[in-house]
Symmetry: C2
Subunit: 245 residues, 2 copies
Amino acid sequence: MLEREAPMLGVLGGMGPLASAQFMLRLTLLTRAARDQDHIPALLWSDPRVPDRTASKTGGADPLPWLLRGIAGLRTAGCEAIAIPCNTAHGWYDGMSQAAGCPILHIVDATAAELARLGIAPGTPDQPRRIGVMGTAATLAMRLYQDRLNAQGYDCIVPSEAEMQSRVSPAIALVKANQVRDAYAPLAAVVESLAARGAEAVVLGCTEIPLGIQAGPYASLPVPLADTIDALARAAIRWAGRQPG
Amino acid sequence: MLEREAPMLGVLGGMGPLASAQFMLRLTLLTRAARDQDHIPALLWSDPRVPDRTASKTGGADPLPWLLRGIAGLRTAGCEAIAIPCNTAHGWYDGMSQAAGCPILHIVDATAAELARLGIAPGTPDQPRRIGVMGTAATLAMRLYQDRLNAQGYDCIVPSEAEMQSRVSPAIALVKANQVRDAYAPLAAVVESLAARGAEAVVLGCTEIPLGIQAGPYASLPVPLADTIDALARAAIRWAGRQPG
């Protein structure tokens, strides 16, 4: 039974809003619970006005002040840890972490745990395990996954520039515009391409990507997929000291 | 294009948490948007610790202090209107409304608009239009729908006591315990029973009910269903001055 004064999870969302709503849904469905009062108290700050994270890397407005505003709001409301269901926003992790004064669950660490759960344990420095990473252009350019996972015994490969421009980036934009079903085919094609290049699993390293992939027959894709929304939800359940359902 | 300082919607949720996550999903999917920044800024206070609303009517703890705590948190964060995706909580509407100092979108009014959208316009005092209302035992006992909709030209009929005890109440509990698929059959049976008694539409007047119904072949049910999650999401989109997608 949950204590009445269980700690509250803060969720810095809206990037995009569909992904953060899906995070709340998965946080609920993945928690073992027999009634409302067994679920994790959570506050979702869904602010889609945050300037585009990828565009900011090529001269667009800086999202950090907006991210810090959300973190301050979550902290004022009493949240004791923060999850951010947006991979690209983790490019500003250090600045957010310094301001937060509470743990921010890192989505790449959550994804490493998810890969292990899927049976894709890391390899060794001599024989790293090859995985594919899909994400926004900014996430890949900042090497959010490559640097953190390569150090743990993975060999991260990413889509080609042509695949990013013709398939991954347009598919992410389709999900943000609510055209979720149209995003499946281009995303599935890139999963298959990464698998053909030797990836034993593919990280869906932008929270719009699982939404698009799951709108089609994703179970027939050739390799396991690490859903970063689910990965972060499981990390939050662990933080709350709860059991997955 | 959305102004950077667009007003923020507060969502008092967690009752149950799956329903409020679904509200956020539907709020996003029903808004016409081409990119993240076109969506409605929203803050979801998902506090599943609020004492059970139905149990409070038979001697359980009073939920009002918990509801007011959430409203205060949403107001402190800057929310300018509040939506509550829990029908039963509207039994405390007056107390919440007095404390809020901002509009609280009433779910029954939102549902009346949804009935009109579905083509089930009200009748006349002499010839009211018969609709079925499903909800928690407390929602029906407080006559949240009956009093408000009967005054508008509807004749609300409700499930029998036996149907409530054997089907509706257990199905709501199943959804709150994440056993969503098992909730379909008992809920569908009650929709059919209300239709057989002359209901031209059925209001799914507990936000767990659409989740259960939509886990099965709901499109084959004999009458239109007014989904109170969607109804409230559309009311919020109207409040924000936005277009439905």
